[in-house]
């Protein structure tokens, strides 16, 4: 257990170092693309804590991302707090919101009311923002003038400066996921996934673990929002709608649930590639939706999961030697004549 934790942690740090190098060498016109990869990557890896580890399907994950962004901007603009303080407070607010929204829903076993309530929460948040334009900026969104001047460290542009922070966020999210998966909490989550009533019989309340995972995943999503909103300089209700949430689920499920590599492959395939080829965002949404439906039907473990199965099948010898008992030479019927 501990060896695996070390191995996975080292893997995460290696990925972090690679991304950090990328943050320095990526050409200026690709910085935003890298930022998008990092932000979506962090969102999807955090989402996997619910989908992969607990088989919960939140249909409103992007709402918490947006809530984090909005909370930061509002605390910064209306309350005049410095950006780091506003960010920390925003993450706490998102955690509180998640607890309020999630606790009535996570206890239900089949997960339908959880999906519906998270779905409704996203829609409700959009309604709220659109109907209180004075405070939330309405449906046209909020612009953020966050006053960080041009004197960035290493002579970086503003966007590249945020790349560093997003790398940190992605690494933190991946570390949290790795640590949770290789801890007692992770074991209990695994037990809840396997058999909820059985877990209850062992004296662990499944609702507790689902609640913890939901609040944790939502706070991670909020953390991404905290950095994304100032980086982008603009936040609008579009970023927290149901479509965004399903896009996130789509990337995760198409890439492969239960693995960090799966989440990152999904993001690379569905965010980075379309952006490299200047694909129309609506067309990309069509693509993600269609792929999600097809993958959910044909290969529920996703691309990476499918490849992993293929790999183990290829590595396994064709005719495994019998584990015990005398080995007879009559594996083929006599006289098969080949």
């Amino acid at each position: 257990m501990s060896a695996r934790r070390t191995r996975h942690g080292a893997g995460v740090l290696a990925v972090g170092v690679v991304l950090l190098v990328l943050a320095f060498v990526v050409p200026e016109n690709r910085v935003l693309l890298l930022n998008a990869f990092l932000a979506y990557g962090a969102l999807v890896v955090g989402l996997d804590l619910l989908v992969g580890d607990l088989r919960m399907m939140p249909a409103g994950h992007a709402a918490f991302f947006g809530a984090g962004g909005y909370a930061t901007v509002l605390l910064y603009q209306k309350a005049g707090l410095p950006l780091p303080v506003a960010g920390v407070l925003a993450v706490l607010i998102v955690g509180l919101l998640a607890a309020l929204i999630g606790l009535p829903a996570v206890g239900r076993s089949a997960g339908f009311s959880f999906a519906i309530i998270t779905f409704a929460f996203g829609e409700l948040l959009i309604q709220l923002i659109a109907n209180v334009p004075g405070f939330f900026g309405g449906s046209s969104g909020l612009t953020i003038d966050w006053g960080v001047g041009s004197d960035m460290p290493f002579d970086f542009s503003v966007y590249r400066y945020f790349t560093l922070w997003l790398v940190v966020v992605l690494v933190v999210v991946m570390l949290v996921v790795v640590l949770v998966r290789n801890s007692h909490l992770g074991l209990r989550m695994k037990a809840v996934r396997a058999d909820e009533n059985g877990t209850r019989g062992l004296g662990f309340n499944p609702t507790t673990y689902k609640g913890i995972a939901f609040v944790l995943a939502s706070m991670l999503a909020g953390l991404v929002g905290v950095l994304w909103a100032p980086m982008n300089g603009f936040i609008s209700p579009d970023t927290l709608g149901v479509n965004q949430s399903i896009l996130l689920l789509g990337m995760l499920i198409i890439g492969g649930v239960g693995r960090i590599t799966g989440a990152l492959v999904g993001v690379a395939l569905l965010v980075t590639l379309p952006a490299l080829f200047d694909m129309d965002p609506v067309l990309r949404t069509v693509l993600v939706g269609g792929l999600l439906a097809v993958v959910a039907l044909l290969q529920p473990s996703g691309i990476v999961g499918g490849l992993a199965t293929l790999w183990t099948r290829l590595r396994r010898p064709k005719n495994p030697p019998p584990a015990d008992g005398p080995v007879d030479a009559t594996l083929e019927p006599a006289g098969a004549g080949r």
Binding site: V51, R55, M57, A59, P104, A105, R108, S109, A110, G111, F112, S113, A115, I116, I117, F119, A120, E123, L124, Q127, L128, N131, V132, V242, N243, I246, L247, L249, G250, I253, D280, V282, L283, T285, V286, V288, G289, G290, L291, L292, A293, V294, V295, A296, L297, P300
Partner: protein, 287 residues
Amino acid sequence: MDALVTTILLGIMQGGLYTLVGLGVTLTFGVTHILNFAHGEFITVGAYAFVLFAGAVGAGLALPLALLVAGGIAALLYVVGFRRTIGNHLQGLAFSLGLLLFVEAFMMRTFTATPRSGPRIEGTVALIGQEQMPVGRLIVIGVTVVVVVVTAFAMRRTWIGLALRACGDDEFAASTVGLPAKRVGLYAFVVAGVLAAVAGVCIALVVPITPLTGLAFLLKGFVVAIIGGLGSIEGTFVAAMMLGLLEALGTRYVEAGLTNAYGFVLMIVILLVAPAGLFNRRQVRAG
């Protein structure tokens, strides 16, 4: 309390539309235990098919064509996709969410977000006092009442209705008398698709439609299906009327901006107090 009668009639109209949507959600869930997030897209497809066909061949012929298109798509999706996901909640959810995204973005790309209007029905009817009610809305009320009554009758008297109810009541017992859930699920999806298309046509008659119309009504469909108790037809009807009237009265007399919040709050409260919904006799929780 000015315009009380108009407000109540509008509430009944909304309630009728919610009934049509909620019935589809509840029927498909009752038989297949699939919560279909793509159900709202049947509304959008029905509405757009109606508007497009009405422009081409006239409203009279467009109605059956729209129902046919939506019912056909529902049947196709069930046979190709949903049938395989029975028994796996997460797979069904993922599949329907993917469909929702696909259809919505596809419609957005094809028809753009510009609202489109169906054929208009002109004129108003004078109610008591100075109140006026557009004829189109009265027609929608009439249509929904007729469809709900016919559906309720069909659920009790026709073999499809009996099959749907049998499967919803006890899947195993139904399968022993030759009604496997996988086949009855097809009927449920077709009926749900047609009911959603009726709702779509009605919506197109009274307000301009966009590719996002279905999503808004899907949320309400979920709310009423859950409040009524998933699988219960009477419950869906009562909950839909409650929600429609609550929204209409709340919008008129309390605060118009909060229209969508009323139903949501109602749903949370009901889920907390009675997780099985109001009318669910069996211990099937909305889960």
